[in-house]
């Protein structure tokens, strides 16, 4: 049967159509233009007209260019040789290393049977107190980092990649700026983590359609490694670019937009990716951390809004810190009872006091008179922000808890804190008592 066609019927946006038969839905094709070769994927078939989205974009495609159908859907290689390697959004090497062609696996495979899932109970330590103490990350969790452009979210991801207690890291860059890509590469290289990492990088200068495949490539490979017993952490940055690429294709295909131009299936599309996070009973796991920049710092924008309904909590990154309010790890209850007996008490107690500090701060800004109690809170708030919240703080959970007690002791009397007496007896530092 004929697999090569030389007559392109239409070119709209990044979608082309050809007259072809015996083509499968979501099959890949290779288009040869004067600029070189590009992959394309079938996104609609209407009789003998086949519509394809061209990964490299449609610039320079001529109607007589060759379209060759490959007879298979999107595949990605899978082997231990991938470790330390960098690929692009089509799964091709980006690092001048050899092509990997062994064991090709399909991307975007079937969902996990809910009956085979287990309740996740293993914590992933990151040595970032705002995560470990206040919103613990749990194996198989899917968490977005909500942030506005300009926040150091990629620095945060890189630090988590270096420090998180996992077997391997898969980094997916979607519309990543070139210097951010180099930052990730250099940071992980210097930290010695590159050899347990795999990168799929689509940069801002690459054609936008190519970015669409990045989450699927990352998650397909992650899933396979997880089935082989590895705990894999998938870092995606930035999922807003992914959603915008979906929007672009949907509009090109004249789909009816639902909300601010985004397609009606945005929720399902995002969920199909995030739900790949899983803890396989008797094997490994996939955990997903994904940056979602909020256009205009608006959490009700369709992208963060749909994301929030899918994920198990969220981290808000604001003013270079992980906000304690709004940030939430829905799974932290599963793990923070088993760490140290004072973990939950410190977690709740410090946040409640910090909330009171914010109220006092507001009163102070409005010119109300400060009481002794207000002054204690002000001292506490400042210390909490600089010693605990700052992203530069890098200590294990136990040290962070001790630090919490120290801060409390420097600012308050034990009875001010509302913490349980037996915990205070055990953990309240002596030094604080002397100062009192």
């Amino acid at each position: 049967m004929k697999r090569v066609y030389n007559k392109i019927l239409s070119i709209t946006g990044n979608v082309i159509s050809v007259k072809a038969t015996d083509v499968a839905y979501e099959e890949l094709a290779e288009i040869t233009t004067q600029r070189g070769k590009s992959l394309a994927q079938v996104i609609k078939i209407d009789g003998d007209i086949v519509y394809l989205q061209v990964f490299a974009g449609s610039q320079g495609i001529s109607t007589s260019d060759e379209v060759r159908f490959l007879g298979h859907p999107m595949l990605v290689t899978f082997s231990d040789n991938m470790l330390g390697r960098i690929f692009d959004g089509s799964g091709m090497p980006r690092d001048k290393g050899p092509m990997l062609t062994e064991l090709l696996i399909p991307v975007a495979g079937p969902p996990v049977n809910p009956a085979k899932r287990i309740i996740p109970r293993r914590m992933i330590r990151t040595n970032i107190p705002m995560i470990d103490v206040f919103n613990s990350l749990v194996v198989s969790q899917k968490l977005p980092i909500f942030s506005v452009s300009g926040e150091p979210y990629n620095q945060l991801l890189a630090r988590i990649a270096l420090q998180a207690e996992v077997d391997m890291i898969i980094l997916g860059g979607i519309g990543l700026k070139y210097d951010e890509y180099m930052y990730f590469k250099n940071t992980l290289e210097e930290g010695g983590a590159l050899s347990r990492s795999i990168f799929f990088i689509h940069t801002a200068s690459d054609p936008i359609v190519e970015g669409l495949m990045v989450p699927d490539l990352c998650l397909a490979v992650a899933e396979k490694f997880a089935l082989k017993g590895k705990d894999v952490l998938v870092l995606l940055t930035d999922m807003t670019n992914f959603a915008d690429a979906l929007k672009e294709i949907a509009i090109t295909m004249e789909h009816v937009p639902s909300n601010r131009g985004y397609p009606g299936d945005l929720y399902s599309q995002l969920a199909a990716r995030y739900e790949k996070a899983v803890d396989f009973e008797g094997a490994g796991s996939v955990t997903i951390l994904a940056v979602t920049t909020m256009p205009g710092d608006d959490v009700t924008h369709p992208i963060p809004d749909n994301t929030g309904y899918i994920t198990e909590g969220q981290f808000y990154l604001r003013n270079g810190r992980i906000e304690p309010f709004g940030s939430l790890s829905r799974l932290k209850q599963n793990v923070n009872a088993a760490t140290r007996e004072d973990h939950r008490a410190i977690m709740d107690g410090m946040i409640q006091l910090y909330a009171q500090y914010l109220e006092t701060e507001e009163k102070r800004a409005m010119g109300f008179r400060m009481t002794d109690w207000d002054r204690k809170l002000l001292k506490y708030g400042k210390m909490f922000e600089s010693k605990m919240m700052a992203l530069s703080v890098n200590i294990p959970l136990e040290e962070a808890l001790d630090l919490g007690w120290k801060i409390l002791a420097e600012c308050f009397r034990p009875e001010d804190t509302g913490l349980r007496t037996e915990l205070i007896k055990k953990f309240w530092p002596d030094k604080g008592a002397e100062q009192r």
Partner: protein, 582 residues
Amino acid sequence: MNEVKTGKIAGITGNMIAVEVDGEIMQNEVGYAITADNERLKSEVIRVQGDRAFMQVFESTKGLKVGDRVEFTGEMLSVQLGPGMLTRVYDGLQNPLNAIAEKHGFFLVRGVMEDPLDYESEWEFTPLVKKGDKVTGGIAVGWVPEGIFEHFIFVPFHLRKEYTVKSIVDKGLYKVKDVIAVIEDERGREIDLKMYFSWPVKIPITAYREKLVPSDPLVTKVRIIDTFFPIAKGGTYCIPGPFGAGKTVLQHITSRHAEADVVIIAACGERAGEVVEILREYPELSDPRTGRSLMERTVIICNTSSMPVAAREASVYTATTIGEYYRQMGLNVLLLADSTSRWAQAMREVSGRLEEIPGEEAYPAFFESRIAQFYERAGLVRLYNGKLGSLTIGGTVSPAGGNFEEPVTQATLKVVGAFHGLSRERANARRFPSIHPLESWSKYKSFIGQKKIDYARDILFKGNEVHQMMLVVGEEGTSLDDFVIYLKSEFLDAVYLQQNAFDEVDAASSPERQKYVFDVVYDILKREYVFKDKNEARDFFYKLRQSFIDWNYIKMDTDRFKQQEESIKKLVEEYTKHEKGI
């Protein structure tokens, strides 16, 4: 007659295929698209145009080609109704997920189907009719024990005429596929009855004498619901709320503690992790009413967000049909759908692929009537044997951006009997359940007197007004009287509206306890107090609040309960204004 009607695929977009068919096509007919690897992908006709049928495929369409064969079944999308559905976990098309997991491992492989009922296990059948009796669809010919219930075996509901029982088996053990009775219509045609039959999910079951107006409250043991915004057996309610406001937790609490006989949980397009908690925990938890495992009264229909979207649309209907079926046994059934927004979005996706003219926010024009039809399937009915059965439907709504003005919330509000609106502010302030006491409403009657409730709500309204005012003029600018009203409303909120779902005692408050405690609260709200200044007032109410919350954590009918009550009353008495005094 036995020849399979077939068609050929003519177009594919997403999960939608266009199929060219010779001969008749029925709307909502089920067909199977057959891939090159011989996978059979279940599909449903959702539009017919000339000799073209547009079908939504309940699986991924990856790899399908134009020209691939489609086999039609001549039947609408149906579920099998029979004994053995309780305790089971189904996907949106009634495939048992545990059976699939056993055979196929971690993943939901495409094209895999399993029997919805266990055809091998035996049930002890007791006949209820004898030879010569007249029967019709919805009349029980016998029953089998299923868990703690008598599971009636009915004449299938679609047999609407009068039939004569020709034969019926004796009491004994039978499998669901065994013929247990033969009935005959007036023309002498015989029909074999088995212990199960199919029913199309999108058609309501109406084999009852009459539909009644719901009146009895369905107790959820959540104070704010039962006292202020009650739901009724056979009624409907909705829970809209932004993410993180605790919709799912509230549904889980309800599914655990509600005084329903059977609970159907439809996890529709939400996180798989949330279903897993039910799957793993319910078998361990015991039903306080029966002492048996909670799972024995539960059916879970689970089509989570990454499972195929067309099956998500079907899952709500599957759940409703199973609910209606258990209602036919004279049971009180509670259906919890989480979330109906995902279901509406599934309709939107399908409509978009059909290139229909969109309504508001691209939802199809028919979606409002679909939502109305869904909630209308709830109801309290008098069955043919005179007994009552009810199906109560509670659906969560996930409004985009947490904005209740959006189409799904608005369409739902039109048709439900109670509205439990969750608020992000209350959730952020850790005031759970985060049902907003000023915005929510219910058309049903509570077991607590309306006058008392109105008085309490009035305090909440006034307290809120004072609070708003205080934000502007500060505490200094507020009169002591107003300040006390504010403190009263905060007290009511803290000790009665809020409830600790993680405390064994506080999590479930029985109607007796609610009546008892509410009387005490009412008395406290009614009283007038004497305070020197605002600080004294605040100290009093804070102290009262602390004692009251402690009281909430103590089991009723214990000495400690009495003691705590006494100390509360003493404290209240101390500050009460007495007319004759001075």
